[in-house]
């Protein structure tokens, strides 16, 4: 836990407060276009960032097609595309 990096989580919440609204229901993952074809889990990415385990997500992020289904389905109105877009910018 001491080695975990929470800076990304803090930065994201500052850019997009709705990042913190996630209840982990997994609707995004269930509906994700990329997840139909490969191992890809937006819910897990969110969880890993909140836990500060950011090393694993860089490769995962590359799979997103930015289609926006996750945003449309999200029951908590999380601005998922903005989060992914900013994540990509930060991780690049």
């Amino acid at each position: 836990m001491d080695n975990n990096d929470f800076s990304l989580s803090v930065a994201l919440a500052a850019i997009e407060p709705s990042f913190a609204w996630c209840i982990g229901c997994g609707s995004c993952t269930a509906t994700c276009s990329a997840a139909q074809f490969t191992e890809f889990n937006p819910r897990k990415i969110n969880l890993l960032i909140q836990r500060g385990e950011v090393a694993a997500i860089k490769q995962e992020l590359k799979k997103c097609m930015l289609c926006g289904k996750c945003q449309l389905i999200c029951p908590r109105d999380v601005n998922t595309r903005k989060i992914i877009q900013n994540l990509k910018r930060i991780m690049q």
Binding site: S18, M65, L72, R81
Partner: protein, 614 residues
């Protein structure tokens, strides 16, 4: 010529010389920067009807301001009186001096300060006619200046809820511009007071002022003021929004010769950028402005920031790309193209890995499919649309395949709109391969976003139809039939389908067959953005909700039973807040399908082909 000289003309000469030099330098630089191939194109178009058309357009748009008249007559009058009035002042002034001196070539400032140099009242009737005309024209221009001043403080008079916030250069130019014409009136009147060379307005005004003021001394000061303001305005022009006055003329010629901004920023983009007059007409129609109260991101500010090289990425990003501003822009600047170019530029190197798509192939069995249906990502979240399309396809008896039944590969447009063109190409290339492998002659999609992408970026040599076009064809060819109901239906034009792809009629033709089409003010080209747009990566959830709520309450307030649309995204966005049922046109058609007709006609279809995941 030296006999007509006084030191007070110097500020004007300096300003005028500076302006001409600045314009010559800028325009030749932009002209050189035009895309390769533009120069021969201009040469071949130069001696053609296109040039005459351009001259006509310059007259109608730069002088008369026809498009602004259509938006608001008061606003149109304001622009026309300033532009056309000033133009006529220059023209009549030149003619008057030509007739007076008998020479065409006079000092450049001579017509402008004519009444300072020629104090004797005119003798001939012709010259008196010019004198009267010049007075009336000055009055015409002054009425425009008055309106402009009123507009600055009470913009609603000219039909604008909000007017543009100005930069320092703009304010300087604006102040001098406002002062030019009152000072001209004052100078000419005061001169008329002691020389009697005035006309119907300047003479009585001069006589009145001269009755209690030292006219001769004040007149000289006033002429100085007039010259300084003219010179000051011309010197400020290249740094202000008034750069649009000369630039729009060049832009109109370039446009008529077929020179546009394509995918890259080029010389013509510079002409477009500087042709923006910051009239602010784009502010009121912008969904991000109206509903969310953000006044930094509209096109007028975007172009200004771009021009001053201080454009922030957050501004470029915060736009729905709905194209409403482009539709009302009186200068017809390709605004969304300009923004898209900046989005492309601001992106860093590709950051994606779509290698998982390689495993997907298309299993084309015999018999070959005729129509390939691609629902699109968003339609997968509106199962009603997807199921309705299947029902319609089955009823039509056409051999079809459902390409993305097991889940779609994104068409790539969302990535493209966010500036990631290279990554979008990977997706479109994959989809293109799958589409071509199907052997279908027609591709039908339910999503206007995919539709625009297929049309513009896929280079498919098969027919591409949005489902409204497809259903309309089926109905016309009597391949399906529907029972008409009495329900009143208001249609919401999706941005990408309406303004984006110019499909307005087919959806309406279908609705007229389903029920009664209700007209409403914000339709067709003036349709509002539903707020769901994937093009905006910066808008917050609450701002997005405000836009959705506003358009929903507008549509709900129309005298209709059903709100119809033709886009899964619009259906979702409006459906969240609307007080009336929101249906896609496909759903309306599917629920109204004439069963008796179907039984005779329909052959039970199987889906012949499908995607295979290895």
């Amino acid at each position: 010529m030296i006999r007509h000289f006084d030191p007070f003309v110097l500020p004007f000469i300096v300003g005028f010389t500076f302006l001409l030099t600045a314009l010559a330098v800028l325009y030749s630089r932009w002209f050189i920067q035009l895309e390769a191939g533009s120069h021969p194109k201009i040469l071949s178009a130069f001696f053609s009807l296109k040039t005459l058309n351009a001259i006509k357009e310059v007259f109608l748009e730069c002088l008369i301001h026809r498009k602004i008249f259509k938006i608001n007559p008061m606003l149109g009058y304001m622009h026309m009186s300033l532009a056309f009035g000033w133009f006529l002042l220059i023209l009549f002034g030149k003619l008057e001096t030509f007739i007076y001196t008998g020479r065409f070539a006079n000092a450049i400032y001579y017509p402008i300060f004519f009444r300072f140099f020629e104090l004797n009242p005119h003798q001939s009737a012709l010259l008196n006619f010019f004198n009267i005309s010049m007075d009336l024209l000055l009055l015409f221009v002054l009425s425009g200046v008055c309106l402009a001043i009123i507009k600055r403080f009470k913009s609603r008079v000219t039909g604008l809820k909000q007017t543009t916030k100005h930069t320092a250069g703009d304010r300087w130019a604006l102040s001098t511009l406002w002062l030019i014409f009152p000072l001209r009136l004052l100078s000419e009147s005061l001169t008329a007071a002691f020389s009697g060379n005035g006309s119907i307005i300047t003479q009585p005004l001069g006589d009145f002022l001269g009755s209690f003021l030292p006219a001769q001394q004040l007149a000289y000061i006033s002429w100085w003021g007039y010259s300084v303001c003219l010179g000051g305005f011309m010197a400020a022009l290249p740094f202000s929004r008034y750069m649009h006055i000369p630039t729009e003329i060049f832009l109109i010629f370039l446009r008529n010769w077929g020179i546009f901004t394509n995918k890259k920023y080029s010389g013509v983009s510079n002409f477009e950028l500087h042709a923006c007059s910051r009239c602010g007409i784009c502010i009121d129609v912008c969904p991000v402005n109206n509903e969310s109260g953000r006044r930094t991101t509209q096109m007028v500010y975007f172009l200004r920031d771009l021009r001053e090289k201080k454009l922030k990425h957050s501004i470029t990003e915060n736009c729905m790309m709905c194209g409403r501003c482009e539709q009302v822009c009186p200068v017809a600047i390709p605004l969304t193209t300009q923004r898209q170019i900046q989005r492309d530029k601001s992106m860093q190197k590709p950051f994606s890995d779509f290698s998982y798509l390689e495993r997907i192939s298309y299993n084309a069995n015999e018999p070959k499919t005729e129509v390939l249906y691609f629902a699109g990502c968003m339609s997968h979240l509106t199962p009603g649309i997807r199921q309705s399309m299947i029902k319609i396809l089955e009823a039509s008896g056409i051999k079809y395949s459902f390409l993305d039944e097991k889940g779609p590969i994104c068409c790539g447009r969302p990535l493209k709109l966010s500036g990631k063109t290279e990554e979008a190409q990977i997706l479109s290339e994959k989809n293109r391969t799958l589409i071509m492998a199907s052997g279908a002659h027609t591709l039908v999609t339910s999503c206007p976003i995919c539709y625009k992408s297929f049309k513009e970026d896929y280079h498919l040599n098969i027919k591409i139809l949005h489902h409204t076009e497809f259903i309309d064809q089926l109905l016309v060819k009597k391949q399906i039939a529907i029972q008409r109901s009495d329900e009143k239906i208001a249609y919401h034009d999706p941005c990408e389908l309406g303004r984006g792809s110019a499909i307005y009629n087919q959806p309406r033709q279908i609705i007229r067959r389903v029920g009664q089409l209700v007209k409403h003010p914000d339709e067709r080209e003036n349709a509002r953005c539903c707020g769901g747009s994937l093009a905006n990566l910066s808008v917050t959830t609450s701002e997005r909700n405000e836009i959705q709520q506003s358009v929903s309450s507008y549509l709900s307030s129309q005298p209709c039973d059903i709100i119809a649309t033709a886009c899964p995204m619009c259906k979702k966005s409006i459906g969240r807040f609307a007080e009336k049922p929101v249906k896609d046109i496909a759903e309306l058609v599917a629920s109204g399908l004439d069963e008796s007709f179907m039984n005779e006609k329909a052959i039970k279809n199987q889906k012949y082909n499908e995607l295979i995941f290895e």
